[in-house]
Symmetry: C2
Subunit: 364 residues, 2 copies
């Protein structure tokens, strides 16, 4: 690989990692073709089998690569729906990120890669030529987490710094094995909001994206601890440091997968604080009907409080049956809600669509 920084009179290439010539270093992977097919490549001459794992593929569906005479494995799939997908390679049983792809999925455990399939004209989740909000990382010390400091990613809409108005707030949660930046770096929630606002399809709002693993990864009691963290630390930080409207009508909550469960738990458990709940691709939490017997039995009161109760799931998602059952439990209790099913899997491709629909309904 040639060192690009020719302006230095002697090369600093030697000091840069993975810049030395080596087998496979000049491979391109992933290669997104104009027809929206994608070719993945990996140099692994000794491997017996290389397969692909992708968040758009059904469970246990792992397409196989084929090897050429140089030991380069390749696989072309698609065409793919424009989106950003998470994938990794499995080489004789070992899952790994795509070695030559710098676009990584930052998460809580193990490594993976991202591939973006752009739309022909910028899609609702892509950066468009419209005014942009900002996303800032706000390092807040947490009482609930024994004084630990956690970075919260916070979207402020275009113009936030140029006026004095106050904004309502959406608290938006990621899923298991993600990070606080997931909704920005993969979900592109900021561009989704920018685009909705440019088309006047949403009310300007602040979007607060905390880290959903309050307990150490994999430990029990995470949802309880996260609830504590959100209510004791995140909401007070937001309401003291940002120009926000307060009161239940001005707070909404939503999350995906694990974060959908958190949203349901915190939202239904604190109807005094939130007036909208969004649950993307989540099943029925344990002991749901007993834990939330009060709001479920008081349909009239609950319906009067929840301006939006919005559940969405992809029909090809492994949690679809559970999501539908959640809706049925709510129906049985006559709790008003939207149940939205789409063609889609357990991935940000679906969650981005849900955010668009849900965000447009809020604070009306």
């Amino acid at each position: 690989m040639k060192c690009s920084y020719v302006a230095l009179t002697f090369s600093i290439c030697a000091a840069l990692l993975a810049q030395a010539p080596q087998p496979g270093a000049n491979l391109v992977s992933p290669q997104v073709h104009p027809d929206k097919t994608v070719t993945f490549r990996m140099w692994a001459p000794k491997a017996a089998e290389v397969t692909l794992t992708g968040d758009w593929l059904p469970a246990k569906t792992n397409p196989k690569f084929t090897k050429d005479e140089k030991g380069v494995w390749s696989l072309t799939i698609g065409p793919m729906e424009p989106s950003i997908y998470i994938y990794n390679f499995n080489v004789d049983g070992l899952a790994m990120a795509d070695p030559v792809n710098p676009r990584m999925k930052l998460r809580a455990r193990t490594s993976a890669s991202l591939v973006e399939i752009p739309a022909d004209t910028p899609a609702f989740w892509q950066e468009r030529d419209v005014p942009h909000g900002k996303v800032e990382i706000n390092w807040g010390k947490s009482k609930a987490l024994n004084g630990e400091t956690r970075g919260i990613w916070i979207y402020t809409p275009p113009g936030y710094d140029k006026n004095t108005r106050k904004y309502p707030v959406l608290y938006l949660f990621h899923g298991n094995n993600d990070i606080a930046g997931g909704w920005t770096l993969v979900g592109q929630a900021n561009f989704i909001l920018d685009n909705l606002l440019a088309e006047k399809k949403a009310t300007p709002m602040i979007v607060v994206m905390p880290f959903g693993h309050a307990a150490p990864y994999g430990a029990r009691g995470n949802d309880e601890l996260f609830e504590d963290y959100l209510l004791k630390d995140v909401v007070p930080l937001v309401e003291s440091e940002y120009r926000v409207e307060t009161g239940r009508d001005k707070r909404a909550i939503a999350g995906l997968s694990m974060g959908g469960g958190q949203s349901l738990r915190i939202g239904l458990g604190h109807l005094d604080m939130f007036s909208a709940i969004g649950v993307f691709s989540s099943g029925v939490p344990a002991n749901f009907e007993t834990r939330f017997a009060t709001p479920l039995q008081d349909a009239k009161g609950t319906n009067a409080k929840l301006k939006q109760f919005w559940i969405g799931c992809g029909k090809q998602d492994t949690v679809f049956a559970g999501s539908k059952r959640l809706s049925e439990i709510l129906d049985k209790s006559q709790i008003k809600h939207t149940f939205r099913e789409i063609d889609g899997a357990h991935n940000y491709t679906a969650w981005k669509k849900f955010l668009v629909e849900y965000a447009a309904l809020l604070f009306r």
Copy 2:
């Protein structure tokens, strides 16, 4: 690997990438021991050789792993100086990120991992219990880059939102194959500034961290294009959207490696705009003495304008000789400057130290 999210009545594990039981999935890598040694591990039963590449290791120094009877390769190194290091594995010639380590180095080309060795009490670059500034991503449309939108990472000091004062600005550049977030995610420039400010060792300032690859990665002419981008887009955006002091006394510039070259080029080329230049781990740019004949020949004028001209390099850095030669050229022209040499390599471990020293000198 056990799914942690027990609250759902049925498992969503199947939908999560790399969660399925597989050889090597339960490995811990890297494992940082209390004595600051580190063990790296990888499951690769068929590999003939696994080696380590690290940004703290001398060029061509690649310690070898040893394999156990289960096909797990491991290597213990150190003790290491507390810092955040970039590394990857080389498996029979193929460089790859550590498959089980989620902490990735985001960059422009190929994948790599990070390992953090914490200090016994939080070091100058670690998060301490002090007031924190924020880092925000500001998506600005660029005239110089044909209307492309680029995310600029911008640090605002503690209290920025709570007062009406104006701040001076440091423009801080990353090196080759890094991203705009590098100085935050690896360099922890935000915590360095927070800590300096808490000890009253620096003047409160805004730190602006743009993406240094203005041209497509590896293309020629990047430094020229980056200069254009900085002056036509980044500085105007900062000065229109933030509460900043303007004028040359209130603007400083600095960068590492490729970014040090950019800092030198833009700083010396625009003494009307900048009063301080920091060059971390960079050699002598091509045609330096002819390109900058004017400021080099006018030592009196240049010395009067530059309140700080600060060059730093690690003695074990491959560019050390070049950095020293830069200092000698300046000496020859009687251009006042600091040349700081430390024990260190071409990595953020050195650059963090340089930022601490340089930032403390600014805007006095």
